[in-house]
């Protein structure tokens, strides 16, 4: 049971981050390499705005980050949309700039955040930190709400339409600029929320986003572009793989094996025969549906 709780906790963090980066990728076709640095912003807000209650710190940083996200999307990403690699490099630069700003403002020494809820809870006979469970549940609920919005609202329909065929969506009256800005805000805010929510379990430092980027990137790699449900499933898979390997093996071996498994899956998925098989088998799914 404690393994399931560990997977749930990891999924809460990776799920928010992966869903955010997947939304941005769907709308902008950009792998946002600064995505997890937005989580760093959320964590620093939780560490520094100690005059406010923890929940207010989360609300304040979410509100305060919106103008920054709009600025980044409009000033830096909109003009380089024609060049995917250029946009990705821009986001890499944004991440570097954010880390440097954090280092200048707060110093390089890592900080900690006191958990707003202390103590342990017993769940199915397993004792675990209460806050870890609460923030995992909050994160999972947010992931669920975002998926609901993606598959049950007009905004979600438009997002998926743009992800599938941006030219056609534009011809049918969708304002691509507006959608891209909205998607960048929503995706960025999910990262900020992840950073703020999980800050009591992490060390808050300028480079903390970098540690989170690798698993998030792997989860994005395993998801289908534009399909947020597969992004959430991929985040769950990455979380489960990481936790299970580290439960059965030593951390050092598990870490190495994690990369071997992930790269192996990516290599197998890229085989043309497998892609053709998946494409062929989808016909039956569609017909039966």
């Amino acid at each position: 049971m404690d393994v399931l709780l560990a997977i749930l906790s990891q999924f809460g963090l990776y799920g928010l981050l992966t869903l955010g980066i997947a939304i941005v990728f769907a709308a902008l076709r950009v792998v946002n390499l600064a995505h997890c640095d937005f989580a760093m912003i959320g964590a620093y807000a939780a560490a520094t705005l100690t005059g406010f209650a923890f929940s207010w710190r989360v609300v304040l940083v979410l509100a305060a980050t919106v103008p920054l996200l709009v600025l980044i999307e409009r000033a830096l990403l909109r003009r380089s949309l024609a060049d995917g690699l250029g946009s990705m490099l821009v986001t890499w630069g944004v991440g570097m700039a954010l880390r440097q700003i954090a280092e200048v403002a707060f110093g390089a020494t890592p900080r900690s955040v006191a958990a707003p809820v202390t103590g342990t809870v017993a769940l199915f006979g397993t004792q675990g930190p209460a806050y870890r469970l609460i923030c995992a549940l909050v994160a999972v609920v947010v992931v669920g709400l975002v998926l609901l919005a993606a598959y049950r609202t007009r905004w979600g329909l438009t997002l998926r339409a743009v992800a599938d065929n941006p030219a056609m969506a534009g011809l049918l009256g969708t304002d691509p600029h507006r959608l891209r800005t909205t998607a960048f805000i929503v995706g960025g805010l999910l990262a900020v929320l992840a950073g703020a929510l999980y800050s009591p379990t992490l060390a808050v430092s300028p480079s903390m986003g970098f540690s989170l980027l690798v698993p998030t990137f792997f989860a994005l790699l395993f998801s289908r572009p534009g399909s947020l449900a597969t992004a959430a499933l991929a985040a769950l898979g990455v979380s489960a793989l990481a936790v299970l390997l580290r439960t059965w093996l030593s951390d050092v071996v598990a870490d190495a094996l994690f990369y071997v498994v992930v790269i192996g899956i990516a290599a197998v998925r890229s085989r043309p025969a497998l892609r053709r098989f998946v494409s062929w088998s989808r016909r039956f799914v569609v017909r039966s549906a």
Binding site: D2, A6, S9, Q10, L13, A75, L76, R79, S80, L81, A82, D83, G86, L89, V90, W92, G93, V94, M96, A97, R99, Q100, E103, G107, A108, T109, P110, R111, S112, A114, A115, T120, Q127, G128, P129, Y131, R132, P200, T201, L202, A203, S205, P206, S207, M208, F210, S211, L212, A242, V243, R246, T247, S250, D251, V252, A254, D255
Partner: protein, 397 residues
């Protein structure tokens, strides 16, 4: 003409390049030519940017105050001591390049500084080749003893020898060891095992995790299953904070568990003082020491740098270490080889101990250790262990 959509990319790329290098290699102080009859000049190589900038800055500040004290007393040989500070950003490639530049262009008589083991090793190679003495102030054991390298920080043996017996006596004999997965924590664990068994204890768990770990739950679960009485931790950097916090949240780090290691260092005090207050930590120098020289340093450091947190130990080691070097240089002048020879036999009294000197067999400073108790404000001295010897021979010396 740069295409419009590429302009932001170019700007960001330029900013990225600038920030990535962190202006590495930039000389902070003005440098002048040094010669046999000129003032003594020391090259200081420290990371002032990057993830370990805090420790590098503390070392530089302690060093500056140490030189200022000597200069205020008349300098060395009637001349003011000069120094050149350069930023290696914690990158060994920069350290090598900067050490060469300080020796060849700035004509320094000695080198001082570095924080991480790999940058110290990079500078030590250059100093050995050039026959220029090089002094470090951070704790730990260099992989190889070198003729021109001397360390003012405590060795791992000096760190563990006085602290393991009282920990085992107070908390129990079952010891667990946890560390980040790189060279030094493995060395620390090897010696910790020796000291544990020598004092009648048993190592019940040994765990390592790659640097950058965010989730420590599986490691903590294994440590808890081993039911240790004492936890020795060499988890470093931001991981030290994540590990300690999660260990407390999962009920491993309680008042019943003895806890010693890197997370108790003053570097982590701002983040972990809530967890470490009241615990005991073996150090060479603590800002709570009450002798007049330490008080003068602490007051000067707090006033000059507007410092309110506990003063890092590395700053104290640099402050008293550079005074040791300059006292030896008063006998030899600017000749690096003569200075290096003098350092090998020199004895110096300071708050680090009476008659502190380097062991010929390993170039480790033979000095006192103290038992510091962590408070919200400082590291108060609970007891003095006195001189703690480490004369175990090391290859290369």
């Amino acid at each position: 003409m740069v295409p419009p959509f590429r302009r932001p990319v170019c700007v960001i790329a330029a900013l990225t390049l600038f920030s990535a290098t962190g202006c590495a290699g930039a000389a902070i102080s003005a440098s002048g030519g040094g010669d046999a009859g000129g003032p003594l000049k020391i090259g200081v190589i420290v990371p002032l940017t990057g993830p370990i900038a805090q420790s590098g800055t503390a070392l530089r500040q302690g060093f500056e105050l140490g030189v200022a004290k000597v200069n205020n007393a008349g300098g060395v040989g009637g001349k003011q001591v000069e120094f050149v500070v350069v930023d290696d950003a914690g990158d060994p490639a920069n350290s090598t390049q900067l050490a060469r530049r300080l020796i060849q262009q700035d004509k320094v008589t000695a080198l001082f500084g570095t924080i991480t083991g790999d940058t110290a090793e990079a500078v030590a190679k250059v100093s050995d080749d050039s026959k220029i003495p090089f002094f470090t102030a951070i704790l730990g054991d260099p992989e190889q003893c070198r003729a021109y390298q001397w360390g003012f920080g405590e060795s791992t043996r000096q760190l563990l020898a006085p602290m393991v017996p009282p920990l085992l006596q107070k908390y129990g004999k079952r010891v667990a060891i946890v560390g980040s997965d790189y060279n030094y924590p493995h060395i620390y664990a090897g010696l910790a095992k020796d000291f544990t068994t020598a004092n009648g204890g048993t190592v019940v768990a040994e765990e390592y995790s790659p640097l950058g770990q965010t989730d420590w739950q599986p490691v903590i679960a294994r440590l808890k299953d081993a039911k240790p009485d004492v936890l020795l931790s060499m988890v470093v950097g931001a991981d030290a904070i994540a590990f300690s916090q999660q260990a407390q949240q999962f009920g491993l780090l309680t008042g019943k568990l003895g806890f010693e290691g890197a997370p108790l260092d003053s570097d982590y005090h701002p983040a972990l003082s809530a967890l470490t207050t009241g615990r005991h930590h073996a150090v060479r120098w603590a800002d709570g020491m009450t002798d007049p020289a330490s008080r003068q340093f602490v007051d000067g450091y707090r006033a000059k740098y507007q410092w309110r947190a506990p003063i890092p130990e590395v700053a104290g080691s640099a402050y008293f270490g550079v005074q040791f070097v300059l006292a030896a240089a008063a006998k030899t002048g600017n000749d690096p080889v003569a200075l290096n020879r003098e350092i090998g036999t020199f004895q110096y009294d300071s708050p680090l101990g009476t008659g502190t000197h380097f062991a010929q067999a390993n170039h480790i400073l033979q000095a006192d250790m103290v038992d510091a108790v962590i408070t919200p404000e400082d590291y108060a001295v609970a007891a003095k262990f006195g001189p703690v010897a480490d004369t175990v021979p090391r290859t290369g010396c």
